[in-house]
Symmetry: C2
Subunit: 428 residues, 2 copies
């Protein structure tokens, strides 16, 4: 399923990979005549898709998975997440949590993720070490944390440690990641905007996630968050609006005309009782939408395939149209369209010659996926992420018939348990 | 996780099974002193739960999986399902489809299902052959099908072939399964009611699934479906209302005072653009709710664990309350409460001495389930059904470390493919 051209399913085809990039997509018989490969792999009961792109995650928060459930957004932040972050956020926690997240994501067919968390330089290093692609968001917030003291410090550390270092990296791109409009003053946003324009990187921000966020913004500033970003010069093609649940038709139009992208995180939105983003309305208006998992503290899995399924299901009921967001269209949101909002659709997101060989192979020979009338339907509506058998990033075979090749499983599990014990002790 | 007492998680415990029933639930050390078992199994990284109960399914429809997606309910029935059923519904299709469904369900930790389909005697035989527990619904509808000619014939065949034969079967119970209020006249419902009272079996019916169903009923009869069932004497403790999406607060109250049960099928309801049942309102009113997958033509998987997760997620957003339907409570809906609406909570649905040893064991040692702060949260929000390692029904080990012991995998896949080819040819 090359994704581009849209709706295409090629049978008995092969993908030739040279130097980490896709050299050709052609009938198997022709491939055998044309290439003398050093490695030849056959997966006859499988579908091959572009590696899934996770449009929004806080990778390190895997270590907070299941720590605070069944709470609305505000209580979840104030009682669940923030006290633990204040005590434990550190380079060590971010490295271990990000490693667990990358293991989980690779095993689920995800080859690229857009991250937003403290110690972004550690996230970037860990991604490079484990050879996954990532857009690293450097945090910006008006309060001091373990990583930085004030907005100038956030911006400087982000610029020095991340944006400069990864300006031309094959795996890593970067963006600014202000937490939300609540978290930054107009002055801070203006400093951020100047720097983002100068470095030409996207700005990823939680936006219109909950009704209370919008109400609080109106009370504090007289403006809804999208309106305020517009006034501050941030409503443009560099904006990656995360969530965008509570938006009016006029705001959808403004996001569309600005060329902003939306990261849709359906599980997290349901779980925090925020609602469901109007995905069909976004697509009808021409807004590019990617699918994200959000962090494991609010999801609680980093499983893009199940988010694709949920996005397709929810869109039908939310728009009262059983034909809304077909399986085929939903899959595109988690591959090429997600790549587009990360500004990387020229190099990933579809199986086309010249793009990086970021690929995932999925086994359909399971009870829950048989029989197969339509492989796309089967993949979206009747497949679980454990059926991902193989994953490649830039041609490197990272998941080989269910086994991760760059991950020390026992070490990850041991460190996860240690963090869990320390954090659980602290909370008692 | 015994489910009863509610909220309990026992660590380092054992379950002793004698003659297919649970003899004791006790600390492992004590178990070693008390019992000299013929078989002793240890699963140290796992949780043990009662086998999941699928409150509503059309098992044989696995053979129609993915045949008609992205359609609203009416078009899905008229264009997708009914033409194929008219051509292919047969004892052979039902046997093969049910076998595939049982394989899929056992592998996903489901030990009991409530079925509604043609050739129910074949469904019952197949369930007994493969040693899964089931409530077999015998269909009733005012039009002739391959299985019966008219309502008298449906009722007679149901009574003779199913209800009489399985009156005291350890694995099989039975119910009547009229398709919907649209599908039966008042006269037919009255005949059905007399017989259901006489045999003392439940009545499982699709009820208030879509808005158009309710509107059509008002147009045709002047009454909403629940009102009509009430007038016909069918709104009572024997009623298993499937879906119940479009219900008023007054109707919720009537279902509660009647003692009727509800089968909640969240994926199917979303996919057919029907909406989401008000589960929290049902529970607050005292209505017992079980969770079902519905058939694979509208879901498209028979995966109760993922339905539990979705039910918990949706309830939060639908009721605008992040605390609505906790993970713990949601799990109960798919075990003890589902058993209750099938009238089998005295013998299954929890891990308690005297009940059948219908059990499922789930491996949490996966990237997506680590670390573990709260095993219930992990099971509901961060576990996929492929993590089910072992399943027992009445003590018989049907899934042994991921391998089904009573299923001929190659034969099932071969027959599924044959049906798929015949059906796909017919549709071209």
């Amino acid at each position: 399923m090359p994704i581009e051209p849209a709706g295409t399913v090629l049978e008995d085809h092969a993908v030739a990979v040279v130097d980490g990039r896709i050299a050709a997509v052609l009938p198997l018989r022709e491939a055998r005549e044309t290439f003398q490969p050093s490695v030849f792999l056959e997966r006859p009961d499988h579908v091959l898709i572009p590696g899934l792109v996770n449009a929004h995650v806080h990778a390190a928060m895997t270590l907070f998975r299941g720590l605070a459930d069944d709470l609305p957004l505000d209580a979840w932040l104030r009682e669940g997440v923030w006290p633990v972050e204040r005590r434990f956020a550190s380079a060590e926690l971010v490295r271990d949590g990000t490693e667990l997240a990358i293991a989980e994501m690779l095993a689920a067919g995800i080859t690229c993720f857009s991250d937003q968390y403290f110690f972004p330089e550690i996230v970037a290093e860990t991604a490079v070490d484990l050879h996954i692609r990532a857009m690293i968001g450097t945090p910006v917030i008006d309060i001091p944390t373990a990583w930085a003291d004030d907005v100038a410090d956030y911006l400087e550390k982000g610029s020095d440690l991340v944006h400069d270092r990864y300006a031309d990296h094959p795996l890593i791109s970067t963006c600014f990641a202000p937490h939300s409009t609540r978290a930054l003053s107009d002055v801070s946003f203006t400093e951020l905007r100047v720097l983002a324009d100068q470095l030409d990187v996207p700005v990823q921000i939680h936006l219109h996630e909950s009704e209370s966020e919008v109400v609080a913004s109106v009370e504090a500033t007289g403006m809804r968050p999208i309106e305020r970003l517009d006034k501050l010069g941030l409503l443009n093609a560099s904006l990656l609006a995360v969530h965008a649940v509570h938006v009016t038709p006029a705001e959808i139009g403004r996001l569309a005309s600005a060329g902003a992208g939306v990261a849709h995180c359906p599980t997290s939105n349901l779980k925090l009782a925020c609602g469901t983003a109007p995905v069909k309305a976004f697509l009808d208006a021409g807004v590019t939408v990617g699918i994200g998992t959000d962090g494991a503290a609010s999801n609680n899995m980093l499983d893009v395939l199940s988010e694709v399924r949920l996005a397709a299901l929810l869109a039908k009921t939310v728009s009262r149209d059983g034909g809304a967001l077909s399986g085929d269209r939903a899959l595109r949101l988690a591959t090429l369209d997600a790549a587009r909002i990360l500004r990387r659709d020229h190099e990933i997101g579809s199986i086309e010659p010249g793009k990086w060989a970021d690929l995932a192979c999925v086994d359909l020979m399971r009870y829950n996926s048989q029989p197969v009338y339509d492989p796309v339907s089967q993949l979206v509506y009747a497949t679980r992420a454990d059926q991902v058998s193989d994953v490649w990033v830039a041609g490197r075979h990272l998941l080989d018939q269910g086994e991760l090749t760059t991950i020390d499983k026992e070490s990850i599990f041991r460190r996860s348990r240690e963090w869990q014990q320390r954090i659980a002790d602290f909370r008692e």
